[in-house]
Symmetry: C2
Subunit: 209 residues, 2 copies
């Protein structure tokens, strides 16, 4: 019997993980749901509810053992085995993602970049080699790449997705603001940067009324 875990809870896991990591670095041994919540602006009840949906990690009357809880959450997020990423598109965003350091501690490693522009093929960004888009199939298979990151212009996003699917990728992280069509079997997460900014604009406008 597998309990259903809400998306909201899953979204909070990496935040717990990072907070625990910081606490561990500072030598903290024990943390309460209260303190964990305070650092992230969640209620302690929320924290306990989230954590217990995966098991009982705490000690009543004491709290949670930082290292233990961190490892548990790491396991839930699948951190023991590194996921290999490929970035498609070597524009400004692709380059920024290739240089982003925070993915590492969450179990991700960027191992290839693809681009259609032959002039950039062969070069490296942050020590990651740029391959010809046409070679995707063999590179993905050879390097056992799990996840494709779409950082190409909107008009080419579906083509990029199709090529990634064809090459046998398991998940797609899409930065193009379009609804992609992919098979059910491929996990798709959309990262639409315009939503957050629009929200900000909306709120400022409301205030000014």
């Amino acid at each position: 019997m597998k309990k259903y875990i809400s998306q909201a809870t899953v979204d909070r896991l990496p935040l717990y993980f990072r907070t625990l990591q910081l606490a561990e670095e500072e030598g903290q041994m024990i943390i309460s749901s209260e303190e964990l919540g305070r650092q992230l602006d969640f209620t302690p009840e929320q924290v306990r509810k989230d954590l217990t949906s995966f098991g009982q990690f705490g000690r009543k009357g004491i709290g949670y053992i930082v290292a233990e809880l961190k490892n548990h959450i790491g396991k839930i997020l699948g951190l023991e085995s590194k996921r290999r990423l490929a970035i498609v598109g070597v524009g400004h965003l692709g380059a920024a993602l290739a240089n982003y350091e925070n993915f590492d501690s969450l179990g991700f490693e960027t191992v290839a970049i693809f681009d259609v522009d032959e002039r950039s093929v062969g070069y490296e960004i942050n020590n990651i080699k740029i391959y010809d888009f046409k070679k995707m199939d063999s590179v993905v298979k050879h390097k056992r790449i799990d996840i494709g990151v779409i950082a190409v212009p909107e008009v080419h996003a579906q083509d990029a997705a199709d090529a990634l699917v064809e090459a046998g990728i398991k998940g797609i992280w899409n930065f193009a603001p379009v609804k992609l069509s992919v098979p059910e079997s491929v996990e798709l997460v959309n990262e639409d940067l315009t939503i957050g900014l629009s929200t900000l604009g909306y709120r400022l406008t409301q205030k000014e009324l």
Copy 2:
């Protein structure tokens, strides 16, 4: 009497807007909640509910007039008056954001970039001038900047936020994965790129069990 609009609804507004914009470009005059929903993977009921929370924009038996609805949503999002952005930090992410074209049609304009590294000061990225971080106060006031975008390393994010608040910014769009402290009066939206990627990793891990 002001009706409360849920965050979920606000998040969908820019998506409606973009879809309507595309429909308009293709010369479509009328669109139904059904079709609008189909293009974004929402139910027609959801679309109608969202739209009616701001007023009655449709014609019963007909649908919505594309241009009219687009303009309405644009007004709700505050698009008539352009918001001026400043990016703090000219790392890879800052540079990518300075070059991002999609903000324009949502009513945003990047007018300044700030950095502490004096070697980059005076240069331009995508025709946007880079200013010394220390000059923030006068530049923000002079250029009447509304929103600050934090694209600096985690350790400097709070400093950047403090400086922006001090300079009189109204909203902050934060890309650093830290919880910032800002006054109640300043709107804060966090854009944590690690959440989406973690979700993808989590789902793949679950599948493999």
